[in-house]
């Protein structure tokens, strides 16, 4: 059910770990829902570039693979570039995800946003871009679905 790329990133995840001196940390998800991603970034204050990134994830194969891919994608990017990375882009970079696993790619996107928001908060700036999903990502997915039916 998973693409080769997903399996590659799942079995050999890139950038696993922590950064002791990280100046941006984001954690999203909920253990109740079965997935949590914690992302650590080292952001250069001058160039606003993400010079290093690490992650830790509790979750399924797709959650681990999207975490790994997302960290690869933001590394070396500026904050603005990183914020433009969408969940779809992460999923596409992995040669797609099974439909029931698409919500896992939200986790990676949210984690990136959450870490960058943390970076701004540490500087006393209230971020305006943060997007939050109430409850389990998969329940958002479900709400969308219900909404479609109502229409």
């Amino acid at each position: 059910m998973y693409s080769e790329k997903v399996m590659d990133h799942f079995s050999n995840p890139r950038n696993v770990g922590e950064i002791e001196t990280a100046n941006a940390i984001g954690e999203v998800g909920n253990p109740k829902c079965g997935d949590i991603m914690k992302i650590y970034m080292q952001i250069d204050d001058e160039t606003k570039t993400i010079t290093d990134v690490k992650f830790k994830t509790f979750g399924c194969g797709a959650a681990v693979a999207t975490s790994s891919m997302a960290t690869e994608m933001v590394k070396g990017k500026t904050i603005d570039e990183a914020l433009k990375i969408t969940n779809l882009a992460v999923a596409e970079a992995l040669d797609g995800l099974p439909p029931v696993k698409m919500h896992c790619s939200n986790l990676a996107q949210e984690a990136i946003h959450s870490a960058i928001a943390d970076y701004y908060k540490r500087k006393g700036i209230e971020p305006d871009f943060i997007q939050k999903c109430d409850g389990c990502c998969s329940s958002c997915h479900n709400h969308d679905h219900e909404h479609e039916i109502e229409e």
Binding site: P31, C33, D35, K38, F58, G61, A62
Partner: protein
Amino acid sequence: MSNSRIYVDNSATTPMKKEVLTSMLPYFSEIYGNPSSVYAEGREARKAVELSREKVAKAIGAQPNEIFFTGSGTEADNWAIRMVARANKAKGNHIITTAVEHHAVLHTCQELEKDGFEVTYLPVDEFGMVSAEAVENAIKDTTVLITIMTANNEIGTIMPIKEIGAIAKQHGVIFHTDAVQAIGMIDIDVNDMNIDLLSLTGHKFHGPKGSGALYVRKGTKIGSFITGGAQERNKRAGTENVASIVGLGTAIELATSNISEKTAKLSKMRDYLINEILEKIPYTRLNGHRTQRLAGNTNISFEFIEGESLLLMLDMKGISASSGSACTSGSLDPSHVLLAIGLKHEIAHGSLRISLSEDNTMEEMDYIVNSLIEIVGKLRAMSPLYEKVSKGNA
């Protein structure tokens, strides 16, 4: 060992035995007649179907004319519950079941609720056991059916079926049991246990997929579920799947011929596996009952990791098992069984079911334990939940 796969998901399905396949083969080609036909080809097929019926009946202490072949265990559950409910509507509209039944039973009960039936879903204790006393207390004047599984498919807990059967009989309530996981693992006698209806399927005991049967005690009020022909004594229409029925007969005969020998071997491997895992891997817990459990069933929760990841890594090591995590169930919630025994969602997500058959060996148990030590270590090293605990302890 790394060259050959280790299959330990025998509660999902089992490989067919050679003897079963051999017995089936002629019925795909040479003996192709329709059992309803009067001529020689038909009579030969009919003979095979009836011989199989005798074998199934014998395996559970029933009479051949109380056995009805179906296309699956799920169909047998659906038939038993829906049609007993409907046939006994004049008497009442109340059904008693448990919170840990297979979805074939739970979803059917939920459907009946929409049709005006009232269903009591009895809770279970921390081991997944329903109390016979609770069953008795739940009986009302309007109760028409008690449906409780013989043994649980996820955590292997064996229910007090004989006690429940006695209570049902005493109160004049029809008793159905889903024995899909229990056939060939527990001695079942429908008369001794006062079972009125029993569902089974062949592929859980080395028979063919798509084979099933419903036992219906003589005199039990039940309508037909599938209409359109006189097959199965007017109760289940559709041309008999002769080869599959033959395979079911062969498989059930084999499965029930050596229960004590087989369960002795399986429970020895199971207990070794459970003890090794609990001893060698911290933050683990056994789900289900320690002794009142299916001989081949192990269900363990590994804290701080998620079940699908665990399964994928086991798969890479050549091990096939299953999990109660939401990611593997295709729904939002982890296993209803694990939640019913009081597990928190996050613990339920990290559960692993290892279900054994006679084909497994002690060496394989060691390989599984060693693989788990490595995999669980790897996944925990990656888990932000474990990070909190390991730092908290430091």
